[in-house]
Amino acid sequence: MAQVKSHKIVLPGEQVSDLFENNQNEESNNSEVICLGPGLLQTGDQIQAINSGVLRHIPKTNKYWVQGNKRKYTPATGEPVIGVITAKHAEGYRVDIGSAHQATLPLLAFEGATKRNKPNLSIGALIYAKVSIANKDMDPEIECYNSDTGKSEGFGELKNGFTIRASLGFCHRLLTSDTPILSIIGQYLPFEVAIGLNGHIWVNAGEESHKKTVMIGNAIENAEHLNHNECQAMVKELMNRA
């Protein structure tokens, strides 16, 4: 597989076209069309990196992108985010999702919401939503339901609990489930969690168990740079201390 080759680390300004050719030789299928993802830019007949990170490649679709890790969120369509309501207007809420511009949440973008019957959120309320419009020239728009099915699919207001911050890359890893920390904690304690790709993680271990919520938050924060075994040891130690 071309995956080995595509573990190369690139810096902004580096030409990556040469790496592509190597990959294409190994593959037979449709090497003409290359799909460029985040962190890559075509200038003339050259392709260069504009972000630093690991150059990733999916041979099947011939897709290339640079996987970096940052803290500032740039909205992308379909991504789940956690935000705080900052204002209410006639047509919708303004929500701080950590991006450069605040997002708009239409009043009716909730499951089963009608003009007469819609949720009334106060300023400062925490919501879990999905980005529906993301465009660099427009303010992002988010929604708390799936507009095709009309179901909430877990989105909506988050009640109680505590939010912590983490890097965007780590939140991504937590959502793609190749990170064991959540299931390890789950072996010891029941808890609810919501992960926003904007670097916010909401944790709730129940109304009366503040200590547990804080502990789970700490465990998740600590887990960013740990592997499976280290996570297990770390969680075990935290649980024993409690």
């Binding site: 680390i9 810096l11 902004p12 300004g13 580096e14 030409q15 962190g39 830019l41 260069q48 504009i50 972000n51 630093s52 990170g53 690991v54 970096g68 890790n69 940052k70 803290r71 500032k72 740039t74 450069a100 511009h101 660099k136 020239d137 890359g169 960013e224 740079h225 740990l226 592997n227 280290e230």
Partner: protein
């Protein structure tokens, strides 16, 4: 690596035992500040250090908003005293340099703010600030056209060119030159940034140019190693 020019012999002994073409040992750490979106500290032999913290792309004041690109704001603070005219000059110079490196059109109607704080000054601060800025921008994930590295060079009273001068060497220098080069190979002879002060001849300028080019490439290689180490550490988990 060795410069053919007779005026930069490698046998010059500098007070800190470096040769004329040697840069001080570099150190760099990224992402150590929690409130900013990206940060870096760039140091030369732990005696000259600059910290840079990035906010952005973030909300922009209405009067600064640019419809089709990001507004670049730079803050620069010296290690001793309150910012003065000299620091305002550094600020303007840094802003104009980074304006050309950041892909501003990818984040229209936003602001990218670079906060520089000199923490220890023993010469070559100008170059270190550029290097710290680049590393911080990379840490923040701001899209860049290319990576650049800057280095200073000074000509002493005997006409010797000394790379990466200390404060004492800069004080005694006849002229000081700072260059920044990008990591794009075809641009190897076109510096991104050049600033010279003092009295110097064209030959001296060319000599410094060549010397700084070699120095900048070393720093670029150092930056690459830094980022590779950081990423490979992260990927171990």
């Amino acid at each position: 690596m060795t410069n053919q020019d007779t005026k930069t012999p490698n046998n010059i002994q500098r007070p800190d035992r470096r040769t004329a073409t040697q840069i001080r040992p570099l150190s760099c750490k990224q992402g150590f500040l929690t409130q900013v979106d990206g940060s870096a500290q760039f140091a030369a032999s732990n005696r000259s250090t600059v910290i840079c913290g990035i906010y952005g792309p973030t909300e922009v004041k209405p009067q600064d908003e640019i419809l089709d690109k990001a507004f670049i704001d730079v803050k620069y603070r010296p290690d001793v005293g309150i910012p003065g005219t000299k620091d305002t000059l550094s600020k303007v110079v840094l802003r104009d340099t980074f304006k050309h490196i950041i892909m501003r059109s990818l984040h229209p109607r936003t602001m990218i703010q670079l906060n520089f704080q000199v923490t220890q000054s023993d010469g070559s601060i100008e170059a270190l600030a550029i290097n710290a800025g680049v590393m911080a921008l990379i840490d923040a994930g701001v899209p860049l056209k290319y990576t650049i590295a800057a280095v200073s060079c000074c000509i002493d009273v005997d006409g010797n060119a000394l790379l990466d001068p200390t404060q004492d060497e800069m004080n005694d220098a006849v002229s000081i030159h700072t260059f920044a080069f990008s990591n794009i190979e075809s641009d190897n002879n076109t510096p991104i940034y050049s600033n010279s002060t003092g009295k110097f001849s064209l030959e001296e300028y060319k000599m410094c140019f060549e010397l700084c080019k070699v120095g900048a490439n070393k720093i670029l290689a150092f930056m690459k190693t830094c980022i590779e180490t950081k990423i490979s550490q992260l990927n171990q988990s």
